[in-house]
């Protein structure tokens, strides 16, 4: 077995650990904005985690999932920011 794959596994576990740290901020808050940055950060960390999983299990389709997840995460954050600021999604 390739030694680098073990390194990938360790890095993936460390990323999962940082996600756990961020979950504290997402649960405790305080306030809605702190929760949203925590969720946004978890989302961006998940992108890297998906790419690592793609290499570890040798499934290339995980790269596509990572790309789409990056877009969805970005759009979700933007929509959330707009929603909290304006109160609805249609006004300019």
């Amino acid at each position: 077995m390739d030694i680098l794959l073990k390194v990938f596994l360790a890095v993936g576990l460390l990323i999962a650990f940082t996600i756990l740290l961020c979950t504290y901020r997402a649960v405790v808050g305080p306030g809605i904005f702190n929760r949203v940055i925590a969720v946004n950060v978890i989302g961006t960390k998940t992108i890297v985690l998906l790419v690592l999983i793609g290499y570890y299990f040798e499934r290339p389709m995980f790269f596509d999932i990572a790309l789409l997840y990056a877009m969805l995460n970005f759009i979700a954050t933007l929509i959330f920011a707009k929603y909290v600021q304006k109160g609805d999604l249609c006004s300019r």
Partner: protein, 107 residues
């Protein structure tokens, strides 16, 4: 040799990601927390993906399309991460979240 370079990229990247998470926990208010996450996460993720890209270039050179995909992912993270940070910051500022000043209690 290649392994050392890849592991170095991954190590520096994961260091910055851990620093970002610690900053998210440690800093006193929303704005300063965005400083930690907006910068450290961007660079950390990009470094990890660059390391994986190098690994791919040498181990799976028969599928170069995936390299382009990863390059696109790097570009995308570089554009979207600061923009999302900025959007949250502006939204919080307009909603009236007070910035933390030296001497205040942490939120």
């Amino acid at each position: 040799m290649l392994e050392i370079i890849v592991v170095a990229f991954l190590a520096v990247g994961i260091f910055f990601m851990v620093v970002g998470a610690v900053g998210l926990l440690r800093f006193p208010d929303f704005y300063t927390r965005l400083h930690a996450t907006g910068k450290c996460d961007t660079l950390g993720e990009v470094l990890i993906i660059v390391g994986l890209l190098l690994y791919h270039l040498f181990h799976y050179s028969e599928t170069p399309l995936v390299c382009v995909k990863l390059l696109f992912l790097i570009l995308f993270i570089f554009i979207t991460n600061p923009t999302a940070t900025y959007a949250l910051m502006r939204s919080a500022y307009k909603t009236g979240v007070k910035p933390w000043k030296l001497g205040d209690e942490r939120q």
